[in-house]
Subunit: 304 residues, 2 copies
């Protein structure tokens, strides 16, 4: 890298996503100084201990001073309040972005606070793990993953292009789309699957009383895959569902319809229907592997 993309970057919120951004930006030599802020004193302490951010500040206002890029990495439900707090302290010409899993709500919550002359380029990196917190981050998280930019009306193309360079420098592929489309696509690929996984794990937990510890013991029969996504951060996911309500409920409605059709096929013994359905779904997996979005190794290449 000959020149840095942003001289000063502020990360507001220091969880998995922000900390992975920090390590990825440093790996690529993409930025100058990175400041960071987290609401919890414990998180700030941890960040200082592990060298996360060049400077950890004790307030969001301090962190955004002179920043060329401010990235909001807090739960979706907290974005509006943070934006209101930092807005008067933003440098003219700065770019504000975020990493929220929902875009329409974030835009509605954040945009009204931002002063003229500040660019707003919402973003959503489609990457993560079931772990959370500052120590969960790692530089490779975004390699070959997608990051979706959702520029709002009137955003300068230059500001969007600059943020795109940053994400590409962190290893991601970048796409652009509008907020409504983003929220629908994510409801299918992420929000509904997460709610379904949470539900199945909850059902199994109820039955644990009946079956003792057997649900855990015998989880390798399929159930354990569900528990990984159902171990994701509760606050983040609460906010996702509350703020992408319509699209999520729409997909869940379709899901329930299909589930009922399959349940009826089971009840009536319609083996042909089941077989045809299961054959169709197999092809999707193939597409994902060919698109480089998952491994073909059996059981995800688990070590155990």
């Amino acid at each position: 890298m000959s020149e840095v993309i942003y001289k000063r970057v502020a990360l507001i919120g220091l969880g998995l996503i922000a900390s992975s951004m920090f390590w990825a930006m440093k790996r690529g030599g993409l930025v100058g100084e990175v400041t960071g802020f987290a609401r919890s004193a414990e998180t700030r302490e941890t960040a200082r201990r592990i060298g996360l951010c060049d400077r950890v500040c004790d307030s969001a206002v301090d962190a955004v001073q002179d920043a060329d890029l401010v990235v909001l990495c807090v739960p979706v439900g907290a974005m509006g309040a943070v934006a209101a707090e930092i807005a008067p302290h933003l440098k003219p010409g700065a770019t504000v972005s975020d990493v929220g899993s929902v875009k329409k709500h974030v835009i509605e919550a954040v945009a009204p606070h931002l002063p003229d002359g500040v660019h707003f380029v919402p973003a959503h990196p489609l990457a993560g793990t079931e772990h959370s917190g500052p120590e969960a981050g790692f530089a490779e998280l975004y390699d070959n993953r997608w990051c979706i930019l959702v520029p709002v009306e009137g955003t300068e193309p230059k500001a969007t292009a600059r943020l795109r360079s940053l994400w590409e420098g962190m290893g991601a592929n970048v796409d652009e789309m509008d907020a409504d489309h983003h929220d629908l696509v994510l409801a299918v690929t992420s929000h509904a699957p997460h709610l379904i996984a949470y539900t199945m794990v909850g059902v199994a937990d109820d039955l644990r009383r009946v079956t003792d510890s057997e649900v855990i013991k015998y989880s390798a029969a399929g159930f354990r895959d569900f528990t990984r996504i159902a171990a994701s951060d509760p606050t983040m996911w609460r906010d996702v569902f509350l703020t992408n309500k319509d699209a999520t409920l729409e997909i869940l409605g379709r899901f329930t319809e299909e589930l009922f059709a399959l349940q009826r096929a089971i009840r009536t013994g319609d083996g042909d229907h089941l077989h045809a359905y299961f054959t169709r779904t197999r092809a999707i997996r193939r597409g994902i592997i060919e698109a480089g979005q998952d491994t073909d190794a059996p059981n995800f290449g688990r070590e155990s």
Copy 2:
């Protein structure tokens, strides 16, 4: 190993489970000659090419000649017909077992055909991958996984103990339980999760027409985990649902109830309910990792 556990073993059906058994038995030096049979000539050809089984036979009847242990490794719906075919040719004192994911139905389908003096010890190894066929097997599949034995009334304890030794020699931990309990536990840990995964992948496939290839492109946001289990063998799973109908429908009923409660919490904006639910499910994951049934590495330790 000082002495082999069975001098001659016949594997009927040569898919992932049987081939993994073959390699695991050979790894441990647990058995003498292993014969094999598959209904499809192509599968038999593949087995001969890759050295799967000491001898691949062109009929099930040939394969079971003089066998001390016969393991039925065919889809659950095919067990009864195979049992009827081989029954007159079983050696007195032989043990018949199976690897079906459903136990009550298999017992009802197989037991009536078996002659006196033949032991029947149904079994179910809780292991597998999304791949199928003779080439998908590997010796380590059963290491540290559970195998459940479901001895039928009147089975000689010695026959059960001997089969237990074999599974332990293949790396598995062995438990015993009755068929009804097995089928309920598996409905929770395996059958319902598989149907739910199939359903979610089917919904996404429908929406693919709306969203172009975006469902595949952005699958890393959570959805891709579902596609792995929804890529499992369609014939095997059709049979599982048709033969473990009651327990599966019972669990799916509970699942739908919970899903509706969560949908309502989303609709009414009840964040506390969602947060409490998601916090509870997180603990289950911890239990599974502590029980050695999954890896704690982020994203299952995927390479990509």
